[in-house]
């Protein structure tokens, strides 16, 4: 493409339009429903401990999701979002990364965070917005984040993390660039993965983020979770192209579509994507195909917009599929697995009970972190508020007792 317009110029004299679906997109599939490797497929190079950690993470998140969904029904937390059906997509991709790679997620990726080591108590403290929440009780449940674990705090506005991932990864790359040539002088040690839904991919920020990543060569793995729905909006009212993968070629980004319920396919694709990103600095796009088995969130009831038939059709469980493979590998003791499941449930309930009685953050956390240090006007507002609360302690029971 050595012309100013930066295009291929293949002269043609036929008045033919390129079809809107001209691209042929395969879907990588390695593990079948029975937990066997497909004929012709190659299992990725994954060791036993990684595989088990991956499995345990999925199993844990499934249990957490079930418990917290119920807790919301009981009125104990205000809101929750499950990952049902997408556990393999999220966990296996996280497992293919380095612990120091940055994760910039949308909100349904709690499995990636747990894989990194976020503890049960940390999950609970966030959901109960108590004073031990790393986020200081400021965001709705499931808006986790941890600097120590390189997991960027979730932000509700959709798509905003996409160009941010491009910028973050650019920072990760800079020190590997030769100042003279502008080329990489070593492999990049850490990169960024950016998760988003097929709905969020309609935002302008998606376009900006992918195009800039291609142009500036930012080592980002863009991981599109196509789960068929954005709240009530089905994917066929979201786009007419062939999924999100068909967009890669528009940005000049290497792309792959994977079966998102197939942990091995996701793991293999992400590992290879990471190789590409670290050695070339270039972004990669992965589209994972799974089905959002549950409701969008606890505020949602899918029976209002999709059929029981359809739901039944896509019930296949990614965790079960991977479990069968582990068993066949002789890496999983089924009895212990059943017991572990029980223990996890108990642990979760105990943690929930611990977290819900921990105090809410003190009043000063209302005004801290707006700036690095409070500006004078906010300081004045805070003093005024303190005085007000002192005069009406009964009206503000959560904070009144602890005001200095």
């Amino acid at each position: 493409m050595s012309n100013p317009n930066n295009v291929s110029l293949n002269i043609s004299h036929d008045l033919e339009f390129i079809d809107g679906h001209a691209l042929n997109i395969p879907t990588l599939s390695i593990l079948n429903e029975d937990g066997d490797i497909h004929h012709g497929a190659t299992a990725p190079d994954i060791d036993e401990s990684t595989a088990l950690r991956l499995y345990e993470t999925m199993r844990f998140i499934r249990a957490l999701d079930e418990r917290m969904q119920a807790a919301q029904r009981q009125g104990r937390v205000s809101f929750y979002m499950q990952c049902l059906g997408e556990e393999a997509a999220v966990t296996a991709s996280a497992a293919a990364l380095d612990q120091d790679d940055m994760i910039m997620a949308q909100y349904r990726e709690q499995a990636a965070l747990h894989y990194r080591g976020f503890t049960l108590d940390q999950f609970m403290n966030q959901m109960f917005s108590n004073e031990r929440d790393l986020g200081k009780g400021r965001q709705m449940p499931i808006h986790y984040g941890s600097a120590a674990l390189n997991y960027m705090t979730i932000s509700s506005p959709l798509g905003t993390q996409i160009p941010q991932a491009t910028g973050y990864a650019y920072g990760q790359k800079i020190k590997h660039i030769d100042p003279q040539t502008g080329e990489l002088n070593s492999a990049i040690d850490n990169i960024t993965i950016c998760y988003f839904g097929e709905g969020a991919a309609s935002e302008g920020d998606f376009h900006a983020g992918l195009n800039m990543a291609a142009v500036h060569k930012s080592p980002v793995i863009f991981f599109a979770r196509n789960n068929g729905y954005a709240i009530s909006t089905p994917a066929d009212e979201q786009f007419k192209g062939d999924g999100i993968a068909s967009r890669g070629v528009g940005y000049g980004i290497k792309t792959i579509r994977v079966d998102g319920a197939d942990a091995l396919a996701v793991y293999a694709a992400t590992k290879k994507a990471r190789d590409i990103a670290t050695t070339t600095g270039e972004p990669v796009l992965i589209e994972s195909i799974a089905y959002r088995l549950g409701a969008h969130s606890t505020s949602d009831d899918p029976s209002g917009y999709r059929s029981k038939d359809e739901e039944a059709n896509y019930q296949a469980c990614p965790i079960e599929r991977f479990r069968k493979w582990l068993v066949k590998q002789n890496w999983l003791n089924e009895e212990e697995d059943v017991k572990a499941k029980e223990t996890i449930r108990e642990d979760i309930l105990a943690a929930l009970k611990r977290a819900e009685v921990i105090a809410k953050p003190p009043l000063e956390e209302l005004v801290s972190d707006v700036y690095d240090t409070p500006i004078p006007s906010l300081q004045r507002q805070y003093e005024q508020l303190k005085n007000h609360i002192k005069q009406h302690p009964d009206a503000y029971p959560v904070t009144a007792g602890r005001i200095k």
Binding site: S78, F79, S156, L158, A395
Partner: protein, 325 residues
């Protein structure tokens, strides 16, 4: 008349509009088959078909760009932004495009047919991104109209007026009141004139001014004040742009005192404009400084929402401060 909550009242206004104009379209995220995450458009796709009531892809800038184009074509464009917190990706399309469409073209083209509906405000444990009250961001933009109803009756009448008005209008719906506020609402069509405040309660000592969900709070404060012998004149501004300076100035000329209250952060909120204008209009009548009781200058919090919001107690404190000045 029928008893309706605010969602029903809004739905009724939309229904009348759809029946009235064969090209009117309702669109936004999840507004189609599902009827919107708050169900404000419930049943309308069934009634008017998929090509007039439809889900859009998830892109607020796209929704507003599309809406500007459809309105410029001449069809009533009824766009929904799912939460006011998510209106910002559409800021350019609203502030640089909708607001300036008529002016920049010398009236060759206009988007007077545009109405943007969006739920705003706190009180639902929504934290930073499901609680914002962004009216002031738009109030600095000539060319827009901005309306906020306080109850179902107002919602239907003001929404119909907003739709019929030949200018782009942003209609902020107090989501905390969607189901909580109910009242008698005519089933037939009616409109409430834009740009007019309403004196909800007459009083003599101090004027209280708010809009939308905050009306409930200042009415509560006024009641508490009256128990202490202070007579409050309570006014619902209703329209932020244009706003009814005359009614407010008249009231303040009488009472000599003014308190403005809104949920949004105090700095450069719309309260600032009201204070700046009224201190000039009523300078010689003011017996104490005009006070603002507003959100703090922080993002909207979650655990400490109760502490953050301008509640009736805080308004009451301001009333006393004003009267005792």
């Amino acid at each position: 008349m029928a008893k309706m909550n605010m969602l029903h009242a809004i739905n009724s206004a939309l229904d009348i509009t759809m029946a009235e104009h064969p090209q009117a379209c309702i669109f936004g995220e999840d507004v189609g088959y599902f009827g919107g995450v708050f169900r404000a458009t419930s049943g309308l796709q069934e009634k008017y078909g998929q090509h007039r009531v439809f889900n859009t892809p998830l892109t607020e800038q796209g929704i507003m760009g599309f809406a500007n184009g459809l309105a410029a074509f001449g069809a009533p464009a009824l766009a929904e932004i799912q939460f006011a917190d998510y209106i910002f990706p559409a800021f350019d399309q609203i502030v640089n495009e909708s607001a300036k469409f008529r002016y920049r073209s010398g009236n060759e083209f206009n988007v007077g047919n545009l109405t943007i509906r969006t739920p705003y405000g706190g009180g639902i444990a929504g934290g930073l991104y499901h609680s914002q009250s962004p009216e002031a961001y738009f109030a600095h933009t000539p060319g827009l109209k901005i309306v906020v109803p306080r109850n179902p009756y107002q919602a239907k009448g003001l929404l119909r007026a907003a739709i019929k008005d030949d200018n782009p209008v942003i209609f902020f719906e107090p989501k905390r009141l969607y189901r909580a506020s109910t009242g008698e609402v005519p089933e037939e069509d009616y409109s409430i004139e834009l740009g007019k405040a309403e004196v909800v309660t007459e009083g003599t000592d101090v004027t209280l001014l708010a809009w939308g969900a905050q009306m409930e709070i200042i009415e509560d404060a006024a009641k508490r004040a009256s128990e202490q012998g202070i007579s409050c004149e309570v006014i619902d501004l209703r329209s932020i742009l244009p706003w009814d300076m005359e009614t407010i100035a008249k009231s303040v000329t009488k009472t000599g005192r003014l308190i403005v209250s809104h949920e949004a952060p105090i700095t450069n909120g719309f309260g600032a404009e009201i204070v700046a204008t009224i201190q000039q209009e009523c300078f010689l009548h003011l017996e104490s400084p005009i006070l603002r009781v507003c959100g703090l200058d922080t993002p909207y919090p979650l655990a400490l929402e109760k502490e953050y919001v301008p509640d009736a107690l805080k308004v009451l404190a301001a009333i006393k401060q004003s009267v005792e000045f």
